[in-house]
């Protein structure tokens, strides 16, 4: 084929330019470490890389969320541990106070200890999360959640718990509200409360009782009356006209009396016309429980162990504190499971991140060994093209004329 001189030059120059463009591209890949910088260079890979980048960025945000949540839950965990210890020590005080060998002054001192516990509990309930936000105020985190009022402690926070996203599919509840932790605890045995009526003349006292058949229990007010030291009857006061629903004779101290699916035990000797009331349990709170215990100890009778009402009260307080402990333990268990969920999510995130990074790197990162060998090849090609051009350009028949 016939070639034109200009065409020969153009072909050679085109080849050199082409090599140079390829080298520039390889050089850019090596300096940036990326196979591509814009979508056009690998549209499918680029879109996948953007998606993977997004998942990784989302995950690191979820990690930040988790860290914030974890720190708050740890604060709650710590506080709940303190609350549990405090309730335990109050319960010990109550047990100690029930000891019939204690004198009035000793009980006063115990009462004092309970008052200090109450103040400490108030401090715990009003703790902040280390960032100046009240831990137990629900979402009203700027509001001091608990205040001692004239009728007991008031909860001023709200009952909203926030959710925090810790993965694309999972969100966890943040710390519990004060209402969840400290308030709304069913008193006594959780179903009914027993009281020794003031003015009883006998030495009989009543325990907190227990439910034996929940289906038979009717939440009415009942009075247990002793018509004589050995004869008793139970009157349902809620019905329009009081009705005797159970009665018995031949009572001996320490005997348990059953009616309406419940069971109470009377110890000591009742006098005729002594009464005990059995009413449905109310919801109370930890502060009221401690306050009640302190007041029971402060109001202890001069002669220790002689007052039936006092014994029943102490027994009730111990039952109350058991309920409070139950609450703090169950809330703690929930916190524990949330913290555990955070750990599991973190483990999953980490292993996912390793996979995604590997995938991303495969997709987007330059294989240096390959790129450098490519650059060398292109360099050799360019050199050859340049050498060929100089040879061809030099050859001319005119040189021989």
């Amino acid at each position: 084929m016939r070639l034109s001189t200009a065409g020969m030059h153009r072909t050679s120059i085109d080849a050199i330019l082409d090599h140079q463009a390829k080298m520039a591209k390889t050089q850019q890949q090596i300096t940036t470490g990326r196979r591509f910088t814009t979508a056009a260079e690998d549209p499918i890979g680029a879109v996948r890389a953007v998606g993977l980048d997004r998942t990784l960025a989302d995950n690191s945000q979820y990690e930040r969320n988790s860290n914030i949540l974890e720190s708050r839950l740890s604060y709650e965990e710590q506080t709940l541990a303190d609350v549990t210890t405090l309730l335990q020590s109050a319960r010990d005080v109550a047990l100690q106070g029930a000891n019939s060998t204690l004198g009035l002054e000793e009980r006063r001192m115990l009462a004092n200890e309970v008052r200090q516990n109450l103040a400490a509990l108030m401090e715990m309930a009003n703790r902040d999360d280390g960032n100046g936000e009240f831990l137990f105020a629900g979402t009203s985190t700027a509001t001091r959640p608990f205040a001692q009022g004239t009728t007991g402690a008031n909860y001023l926070g709200d009952q909203t718990t926030r959710q925090i996203r810790i993965s694309s599919t999972q969100s966890l509840a943040d710390v519990h509200t004060g209402a969840d932790v400290f308030m709304g605890i069913a008193e006594r045995n959780g179903v009914f409360r027993t009281t020794v009526t003031a003015g009883n003349t006998g030495t009989a006292t009543i325990d907190v009782g227990r439910v034996v058949d929940p289906t038979a229990w009717v939440a009415d007010n009942y009075t247990l009356q002793f018509t004589s030291p050995t004869d008793w009857q139970v009157v349902d006061d809620t019905t329009p006209t009081p009705v005797v629903i159970a009665s018995g004779a031949g009572f001996t101290p320490g005997q348990s009396i059953s009616f309406s699916g419940i069971n109470v035990t009377i110890t000591g000797t009742p006098a005729a016309n002594d009464t005990f009331s059995i009413t449905p349990a109310q919801n109370t709170d930890m502060f009221a429980m401690l306050d009640e215990l302190a007041r029971t100890l402060e109001g202890a009778p001069a002669i220790a162990g002689s007052n039936a009402a006092f014994q029943a009260q102490i027994g009730a307080s111990i039952a109350n504190l058991d309920k409070a402990l139950e609450r703090s333990v169950s809330v703690r268990a929930e916190v524990g499971s949330r913290l555990n969920a955070i750990d599991i999510a973190a483990d999953f995130r980490e292993s996912e991140a390793v996979d995604l990074q590997a995938l991303l790197s495969e997709l987007r990162d330059v294989d240096y060994a390959e790129a450098i060998s490519q650059l060398n090849q292109q360099y050799a090609g360019l050199q050859a093209a340049q050498a060929a051009y100089t040879r061809i350009a030099q050859m001319s028949l005119f040189d021989y004329l």
Binding site: R2, F36, T37, A137, I164, M183, G184, L397
Partner: protein
């Protein structure tokens, strides 16, 4: 002997021409568009001597271009195609560089914004987290506004090119017309084609074809007629038409190419298919406009998702959240060719139904006709275009003002104008509505164990935050604010005043649940949490495509289109190189060949000179013989 002298002289003259032509070829080795020339030799008419015919030498009959009409036409066509593809691909690369950046593109800004929402969700009372959210929101709007500005500039730079090229095309056309005349005159004078003028004319037509794509039709021996677009005459003999730019009646911001004819201007923008201008116009129609519309739609999706959720929240001041983002409205342009000055307005009513097309609404006298601007395809709609009965189509509601008459046209850009007005509506970080507007609670004296959910907003109404008490009159019945007794269904929805709560468990008679305004709940993140989820939810195309997916899809599509354009360009470059090589193989100058020719002609010239010398000697011999 005289004949021998004559033969030698004829040879000298012919070879002189050949050497001149060789010199001309060598001189023009680097001239673009130059076609090598060759002298054709022919024997002169022989003379009769008795019964014999004796040759009488040589004539240089013509100087001819070595030119193959077919091959040159092919090279011109492929050069025009390459010019179109090159313009298309290089503009596509600009767009890809702007929007297809995989490490620092729009998805990065969106990610920053989403992360900032998450941060507010984790620490809703933190003013600094809220400030970061505002800053990220501003960065996102800034990014989209700057995209908008850059895309507008890219579009208007096409117009600038059109204006400049129009006058160049006119100049080239005038050059072709003038050369047509000159060539005709030259042929008349000598009967021979002026090769260098033919080359010049071809070069001008090559340039034209590189700009717009033309059809060339030969008329007679001397004239080439050039047609543009769908057959509009650009050059007819010695007259050239003028190409101008006029404002596009449907889009006054843009110009279109027009051919000036004695009867007025004819729009040829749509029919320009080849060359640089064809590539630019194709690129604007196929890539730039859809990309602008898609970005606009993404802007609207972000704004809509964030705004509708944000309005359902409560800010730190206890007020309901307003709009987080502002966006631009629907662009409606009345065509400048409209017979009336009626205007039209359009609003977006359904984001999920919005497309990335532009539309033309035409008043056809008996009603309206709605068509896509790019393809002209008819679009189904309902309504009469009045305020009471607006035209509803593809997520738009269009109202045409009074006084519109048949022939009025309105161009509707549903999404692209959203970007220009995209901004953050909030400046005070306290006004970010991270909290839910209501709080539900169980009263502290409740004896049952029923619990209430924290509540969700169904519709934003004026009574949303009005205090409401739900009181159980028995374990199975409740009343709301003392209203009629309702049967309690554990876990069932209780809807009131635009909110919804659920109560579950066993309530006791007298138990009370309250729903109150959530003012003061500075640590509430419920709305921020919902905002973060809204950013991941499907919203576009009937709620199937999320914002992030739309961005990724747009990036991917631009990448694919750019890559396809690059590949077409590279393939066409190979075709074009081969066409040029074929043309050069025929028409190009080869210096070695010219050197050989020169040597050949030089030797022949020397030989011819020897003929004259020998002829002289022969004559002398004869004279000397006679003198004796």
């Amino acid at each position: 002997m005289a004949d021998m002298m004559g033969t030698g002289l004829s040879s000298l003259r012919a070879l002189q021409r050949a050497l001149d032509t060789t010199a001309h070829n060598i001189a023009n080795v680097s001239t673009p568009g130059y076609t090598r020339q060759r002298v054709d030799f022919a024997t002169r008419t022989p003379q009769a001597y008795g019964t014999n015919w004796i040759g009488s030498g040589v004539n240089a009959t013509s100087v001819r271009r070595i030119y193959d009409q077919f091959v040159s036409q092919q090279a011109r066509t492929s050069s025009g195609t390459l010019a179109r593809m090159d313009a298309y691909a290089s503009q596509a690369e600009r767009l890809d560089n702007l929007l297809g950046d995989t490490t620092n593109g729009l998805s990065t800004s969106l990610q920053g914004f989403t992360n900032a929402i998450n941060e507010v969700s984790s620490t809703p009372s933190s003013i600094s987290a809220r400030q970061v959210l505002l800053a990220q929101g501003n960065a996102l709007t800034e990014r989209l506004r700057s995209y908008d500005a850059r895309l507008r500039e890219m579009s208007s730079s096409v117009d600038t090119r059109l204006v400049g090229e129009a006058s160049e095309i006119s100049g080239l056309a005038r050059g072709v017309a003038r050369l047509n005349g000159d060539i005709a005159v030259a042929i008349q004078q000598t009967g021979q084609a002026p090769n260098d003028l033919l080359d010049q004319r071809d070069a001008l037509i090559d340039q034209l074809s590189g700009k717009v794509g033309v059809t060339v039709v030969a008329e007679g021996e001397s004239t080439l007629n050039v047609f543009i677009g769908t057959g509009q005459p650009l050059v007819l003999g010695t007259t050239a038409s003028q190409i101008t730019t006029v404002a596009n009646p449907l889009d006054p911001e843009r110009v279109q190419l027009a051919l000036q004819t004695p009867s007025g201007t004819v729009d040829i923008s749509r029919s320009v298919s080849g060359g640089t201008l064809g590539g630019l116009l194709d690129w604007r129609r196929e890539m730039l406009d859809p990309a602008r519309n898609e970005l606009g739609r993404i802007t609207l999706a972000v704004a809509n998702q964030v705004n509708s959720q944000h309005r359902e929240g409560m800010d730190l001041t206890g007020a309901l959240g307003g709009n987080f983002f502002n966006t631009g409205g629907v662009g409606v342009v009345s065509a400048t060719s409209n017979p009336t000055d009626a205007t039209a307005t359009a609003t977006r009513v359904d984001l999920g139904a919005l497309t990335t097309h532009d539309y033309v609404l035409t008043n056809i006298g008996t009603g309206y006709e709605l068509r896509r601007q790019d393809t002209g395809a008819s679009v189904a709609f309902t309504g009469a275009g009045t305020a009471l009965d607006p035209i509803l189509a593809d997520g738009l509601s269009i109202v045409v003002g009074a006084g519109s008459a048949s022939g009025d046209q309105f161009v509707i850009h549903p999404t692209r104008e959203a970007m220009a007005g995209f901004s953050v509506a909030i400046t005070d970080p306290a006004r970010i509505a991270a909290a839910a507007p209501i709080r539900a609670a169980a009263a502290s004296g409740n004896t049952g164990n029923a619990t209430i959910t924290s509540g969700e907003v169904l519709t934003v109404s004026g009574t949303l935050t009005t205090p409401v008490d739900i009181v159980f009159t028995s374990a199975t019945q409740y009343s709301i604010n003392g209203g009629a007794a309702q049967t309690y269904a554990p876990g069932g929805n209780i809807d009131f005043n635009g909110w919804r709560v659920q109560i579950s468990g066993a309530p006791a008679a007298g138990d009370t649940f309250t729903v109150r305004s959530n003012a003061g709940a500075v640590g509430d993140n419920r709305n921020a949490f919902a905002l973060a989820d809204a950013m991941r939810a499907g919203v576009i195309e009937g709620g199937t495509v999320s914002v992030n997916a739309a961005v990724e899809r747009m990036t991917g599509n631009l990448g694919l289109q750019t890559r396809a354009a690059q590949m077409s360009r590279d393939a066409e470059a190979v075709v074009n190189a081969s066409d040029l090589a074929t043309r050069d193989a025929i028409s190009g100058v080869n210096l070695d060949e010219e050197a050989a020719n020169m040597l050949r002609f030089q030797q022949a010239y020397a030989a011819a000179a020897q003929i004259i010398a020998v002829s002289g000697q022969l004559f002398d011999t004869l004279i000397n013989a006679v003198r004796r």
